[in-house]
C-alpha cells in the first residue's frame, strides 16, 4: 500500500481506504437488556462454582476412601480415577464459572488504549549518554585512558570463571579413562551365561534356529559397575545350519558348528539389537531399524548403522560349555572419534 495518505480533492477517489474505526454498534447480550437473563446468568455461574465445591469434596472423599497398598491394582486405578475426576470438577467449575461470568455479565465492547513508541526520546538518550560519560569520567576510564586498568579488569573477569569451572568440570568425569570403552569383561576362557539368571550354556543346549541372550559368567557376582559391564558385554548367541553360515575370512575358528556370538549393542547409537528373524538370519534393532545379517558376519543390510556387529570368538571347553576365546577385537557399540586409535 502506498504510504501517501492524502485525500485527493475535487471528487477524485481516495488512494486508499480509510479506517472505519472501532465498530460503534454494540449488539447487546440478553443479560445486558433483560434483568431476568442477568439473574439467570448469575445463577449459572454460582452453580458452576458450586460444582467446584462438590469436586473438592469428591477428591477428598476419594483420598480418604482410597484403598491402595497391597497388591490391589484395581484399588489404585479406582482411587486415581475418582480423585482425578474430583480434581477435574473442582478446577473446571471455577474456570467455567469465571469465564461464563466474564462472557455474560462483564463488559464486552472494546476499549482503546494508545501505544507509545518504545524508543526513548532523544532527550532521554542524550541524558543516558551524558550520565555514562560522567560516570566514566568519575571512574577515570574515559575513552583512550587507563588502558592498563581496563585491560587487566577485562582479563581478570574473563578468566575468573575458570577458577570454578575447571575443578567443576574436571570432577564430572571421575578418572576420565575413556579407554574403558575399548574393553569388555570377555576374555579367554570366560563361559557364556544366560541373561538374566546366569546359568551356563552348553553347546548341546543350543539347537539350530535358537537364539540366546548372553552375559559373561561372573557378571552377576560383580560388586561394582555391574550395569556398566553388562552394557558392554551383552551378546547374542545364535545357531544356524553350518551350510547357511557364511564364515568370514580370518574368522574360521571364531564359531562352533554353526554357533556364532555377536555383540548385542548396535553399532549405530547403542540400542540392544534384540529382534532375530530365524528364516533370514537377520537381526533388527528396534530403535532405528538397523538390520544385520548374522549369516554374513552380521554386516549391515539396512538402516542407519554403518558397521557390522563385532563378533565374539567362541569355542567349547572340556565340559561342553561355550567359552569366549578372547575379548571382542574392536570396541563394541556406537562409533566415537578415537575408536580405532
Amino acid at each position: 500500500m502506498s504510504t501517501d495518505n492524502v485525500n485527493h480533492q475535487g471528487g477524485a477517489v481516495d488512494e486508499e481506504f480509510t479506517d472505519p474505526g472501532v465498530p460503534a454498534d454494540h449488539r447487546p447480550r440478553r443479560a445486558d437488556v433483560d434483568p431476568k437473563a442477568a439473574n439467570r446468568a448469575e445463577r449459572q455461574v454460582a452453580a458452576m462454582f458450586g460444582l467446584s465445591v462438590l469436586g473438592t469434596v469428591i477428591a477428598i472423599a476419594a483420598y480418604v476412601m482410597s484403598d491402595v497398598g497391597g497388591d490391589n491394582i484395581a484399588g489404585v486405578q479406582n482411587s486415581t480415577m475418582l480423585m482425578g475426576l474430583g480434581l477435574f470438577l473442582a478446577m473446571i467449575g471455577i474456570g467455567t464459572g469465571a469465564i461464563h461470568w466474564a462472557k455474560t455479565l462483564m463488559r464486552d465492547h472494546d476499549m482503546v488504549e494508545e501505544r507509545h513508541e518504545l524508543r526513548s526520546s532523544d532527550e532521554a538518550r542524550a541524558g543516558a549518554v551524558d550520565n555514562l560519560k560522567e560516570g566514566a569520567k568519575d571512574s577515570g576510564i574515559g575513552v583512550g585512558r587507563r588502558g592498563l586498568l581496563k585491560g587487566s579488569l577485562v582479563t581478570a573477569l574473563a578468566i575468573a570463571p575458570l577458577s570454578v569451572l575447571v575443578p567443576a568440570i574436571g570432577n564430572l568425569g571421575g578418572d576420565w579413562n575413556v579407554s574403558k570403552f575399548r574393553h569388555t569383561m570377555w576374555k579367554q576362557g570366560v563361559r557364556l551365561a544366560k541373561d538374566p539368571d546366569g546359568s551356563l550354556i552348553k553347546a548341546s543346549d543350543v539347537t539350530i534356529g535358537s537364539v540366546f541372550h548372553v552375559i559373561p559368567d561372573g557378571l552377576t557376582e560383580l560388586e561394582h559397575h555391574q550395569l556398566e559391564e553388562k552394557a558392554k558385554a551383552v551378546v547374542l548367541l545364535i545357531r544356524m545350519s553350518p551350510d547357511d553360515l557364511n564364515v568370514q575370512p580370518g574368522r574360521e575358528d571364531w564359531s562352533f558348528d554353526g554357533i556364532v556370538a555377536y555383540s548385542k549393542i548396535c553399532t549405530h547409537v547403542g540400542c540392544p539389537v534384540a529382534l532375530y528373524e530365524q528364516q533370514t538370519h537377520h537381526l533388527l534393532c528396534p530403535c532405528h531399524q538397523s538390520t544385520f545379517d548374522v549369516a554374513n558376519g552380521a554386516k549391515v543390510v539396512f538402516g542407519p548403522a554403518k558397521r557390522a556387529l563385532p563378533q565374539l570368538p567362541i569355542a567349547v571347553d572340556d565340559e561342553g560349555y561355550i567359552i569366549a576365546k578372547d575379548d571382542f577385537n574392536e570396541p563394541i557399540g556406537p562409533s566415537y572419534w578415537e575408536r580405532l586409535k
Binding site: D71, A102, G174, D175, Q226, G270, T291, A305
Partner: protein, 560 residues
C-alpha cells in the same frame, strides 16, 4: 441495562481493605502500579490463549512436581524390590525406579500426581510449539518483538530439556534406552564426544551419577531458568502491549480490546482452572508412562514400538531416516556422520533458523517500523509457505520416528516405508511450500473478489431481455477494511553497484543478497483492492444492472 454500583460503602470490611491498601502502598507505591495495570487493554482472540496454556501447564507442572519430589529418590543405588507389586517382586532395580513404583502404588494420589505431571509436560511442550507457530504465521515476531521471540525460543528449548530430563528420571527400560541413544549421539561428536559422554555420565554408561545430576537439572536448574525467562517474556508482553488482528480502528499506534480487570482476570484466571481441570481429567482417565510394565533399566532388553515422548520423535525419526553409509575414518579417527548429521547438525540448523527467523525475514522486508497489527497468514504468502514447509519437514520426521508403528498399523514393509520417507522428507516440504503459497495467494484473490463484488446473496434476478444474474451484496466497511488494510510489500530496490565516482560501494554484495532474498519473498504478490478499483467495479455492476449485460471484470492488480 442494569446499573452496577461499585462505589465503596463505609462498611468495616471496606475500611479494613482501604487501610491495608494504604499500608502496602506507603511501602511499595503499589497504587501507581495498580493504576497502570488494572485497566490495561488486551485484545481478544482464541489464538492468544495458546501461550496461556503453556504458562498454566507450567504452573501445574510446578505444583505436581513439588509433590513428586516428596516421594522420588534420585538415586541409582541398586535395591531389591520389596514393594507390593507382584510382578516386580525380588527384581533388582535402582532406588529411582523403586521409589517411582512405590509412589504409584502405595501413596494415595501418587499415581494421579505422576500422570498429571506427565500429561502437563506433554501439553506444556505442545502448547509452546503451537503458540510459536501462531506467532510465526501472524508475524508477531516483527519489530519490536524480535527479542521476545528469542526469549520464547529459548523457553521452547528449555521445555524440551525439562521434558527429556524428567522423562528419564524413573530409570525404566524405555527411558534408559533413550539415554543410551543420547550417549551414542554424544559419542559421535568429533574430538570431544567420548569425553562429553564420560563427563555427563560420570564414567561409563550408565554409571551412578546421571540420575542425581539430571534430577538437579530437572527440578532446580531448568525450572529456575524457565521461571526467570517467563517473567522476562511477560514483562516484554506488557511493555510492548499485545498485538492485535487487523480490524476497524486497530492500528500500529493503539490497542483495542478489553481491560485486564475485570475481564481478563476472569477469563484468563478462569482459563488457568480450565487447563488444570483438563489435565486432571486426562490424568484421571488416560494412563501414561506405566513404568512398572516396562521394568527397571537393564542394558540388555528392549522392545519393539519404543517411542520417546512426542517432542523428541523428530530427532529419533532423523536418526532412523539417515542412510548408514556416511561413516568415515580419516587419519585413523572415526567421523560418524550417519549419527552426527541427523542428531546434531540437523536439529542445530532447524533450531538455528527458527531462532534467527525474525532477522532472516527482516533482510527481505527492510522494514524499520513497529508492527503491532498482525498479518493474516494469507497476506504473507512466502512466510506462510516457509512455515508450512518447515512443519511438513518436521511431520515427516515425526512419522519416520514412528515408522515401526505406522508399518504395523498399515501392514507395510518398514524398509519400504523408510525408503519412501527418505524421498518425501525432501520432496514434500518443497511441494508443501508451493501449494501453501498458492493457497495463500488464492485466498488473497478470494478477498479481492469479495471486496470488489460483494457477498453472494443467492438472489437471482431476471432481466427483461431474459438474462439472469445473481445479486451481490456489498461488504460492510468493517468487513472490507479487514481485507484491504494490509501491506503487499514489494521487493527491495538494489542501489547501483558503483557510486558516483565509479568506485564499487561498500556493502554491495550484502545488499545484492538482501535484494535477491526480498525477491524470493515478494516477487509474487496480490495487491489489496484500491478505492478506484472498487469504484470501477461498482460502476460496472451498476452498468450491468442497467443494461443487463455481463462481462468478465478485469483484475489488473494481480501479479503472476
Amino acid at each position: 441495562m442494569t446499573e452496577v454500583k461499585t462505589a465503596p460503602t463505609d462498611s468495616r470490611l471496606n475500611r479494613a481493605a482501604g487501610s491495608t491498601a494504604s499500608y502496602v502502598d506507603e511501602r511499595t507505591s503499589i497504587g501507581a502500579f495498580t493504576k497502570f495495570i488494572a485497566r490495561k487493554i488486551f485484545p481478544d482472540h482464541w489464538s492468544f490463549m495458546l501461550g496461556e496454556i503453556a504458562l498454566y501447564s507450567f504452573v501445574v507442572l510446578l505444583l505436581s512436581g513439588v509433590i513428586l519430589t516428596a516421594f522420588f529418590v534420585p538415586s541409582m543405588d541398586i535395591v531389591e524390590y520389596e514393594g507390593e507389586f507382584a510382578q516386580l517382586k525380588g527384581l533388582e532395580m535402582s532406588r529411582a525406579f523403586e521409589s517411582t513404583v512405590h509412589m504409584s502404588f502405595e501413596v494415595p494420589g501418587g499415581l494421579l500426581m505422576r500422570q498429571i505431571h506427565h500429561w502437563a509436560a506433554l501439553i506444556f511442550t505442545a502448547s509452546i510449539v503451537t503458540h510459536m507457530a501462531r506467532i510465526f504465521f501472524t508475524g508477531a515476531f516483527r519489530k519490536p518483538r524480535e527479542l521476545n521471540w528469542l526469549v520464547g525460543f529459548t523457553l521452547m528449548i528449555l521445555s524440551l530439556a525439562a521434558g527429556f530430563t524428567g522423562y528419564s528420571l524413573p530409570d525404566d527400560v524405555l527411558s534408559g534406552n533413550g539415554l543410551r541413544i543420547i550417549d551414542g549421539v554424544i559419542k559421535s561428536i568429533p574430538l570431544a564426544g567420548s569425553y562429553i559422554s564420560y563427563g555427563l555420565f560420570g564414567g561409563e554408561f550408565p554409571g551412578e551419577a546421571l540420575i542425581p545430576r539430571m534430577f538437579t537439572a530437572h527440578i532446580l536448574l531448568i525450572p529456575a531458568l524457565i521461571l526467570g525467562l517467563i517473567a522476562l517474556h511477560l514483562f516484554l508482553v506488557f511493555l510492548h502491549k499485545h498485538t492485535q488482528y487487523p480490524g476497524g480502528g486497530r492500528t500500529d499506534k493503539n490497542v483495542v480490546g478489553l481491560p485486564l480487570f475485570p475481564v481478563y482476570m476472569a477469563k484468563a484466571g478462569g482459563f488457568f482452572f480450565v487447563v488444570f481441570g483438563v489435565i486432571a481429567l486426562l490424568a484421571a482417565v488416560f494412563q501414561i508412562n506405566p513404568v512398572w510394565n516396562y521394568g527397571p533399566y537393564d542394558p540388555s532388553p528392549v522392545s519393539a514400538g519404543t517411542q520417546p515422548d512426542w517432542y523428541m520423535l523428530f530427532i529419533d525419526g532423523a536418526l532412523r531416516i539417515m542412510p548408514g553409509n556416511f561413516e568415515y575414518v580419516i587419519g585413523g579417527f572415526t567421523l560418524s556422520l550417519n549419527v552426527l548429521i541427523p542428531a546434531v547438525v540437523l536439529p542445530g540448523l532447524f533450531f538455528g533458523v527458527l531462532a534467527l527467523y525474525p532477522w532472516i525475514e527482516a533482510w527481505a522486508t527492510g522494514d524499520r517500523g513497529e508492527k503491532h497489527v498482525l498479518d493474516r497468514p494469507r497476506n504473507a504468502p512466502t512466510r506462510t509457505a516457509l512455515g508450512v514447509a518447515l512443519i511438513t519437514f518436521y511431520v515427516v520426521l515425526v512419522l519416520e520416528g514412528s515408522n515401526d508403528i505406522v508399518a504395523s498399523l498399515f501392514s507395510l514393509s518398514i524398509n519400504d516405508l523408510t525408503l519412501m520417507f527418505r524421498i518425501t522428507v525432501i520432496v514434500l516440504p518443497i511441494l508443501a511450500f508451493i501449494i501453501a503459497k498458492r493457497l495463500a495467494m488464492g485466498l488473497q484473490r478470494k478477498d479481492r473478489e469479495l471486496v470488489l463484488h460483494g457477498h453472494e446473496t443467492g438472489r437471482i434476478v431476471r432481466f427483461d431481455n431474459g438474462e439472469y444474474i445473481e445479486v451481490h451484496e456489498p461488504l460492510t466497511e468493517q468487513e472490507r477494511w479487514v481485507r484491504v488494510s494490509y501491506d503487499a510489500l514489494k521487493p527491495r530496490e538494489l542501489a547501483p553497484e558503483l557510486n558516483d565516482r565509479g568506485v564499487r560501494r561498500k556493502g554491495y554484495r550484502w545488499d545484492r543478497f538482501k535484494a535477491a532474498w526480498s525477491r524470493f519473498y515478494f516477487e509474487d504478490r496480490v495487491e489489496p483492492v484500491t478505492p478506484a478499483e472498487l469504484k470501477a467495479a461498482e460502476e460496472h455492476h451498476a452498468h450491468e444492472l442497467e443494461s443487463g449485460k455481463k462481462a468478465a471484470p478485469e483484475d489488473p492488480a494481480i501479479h503472476p
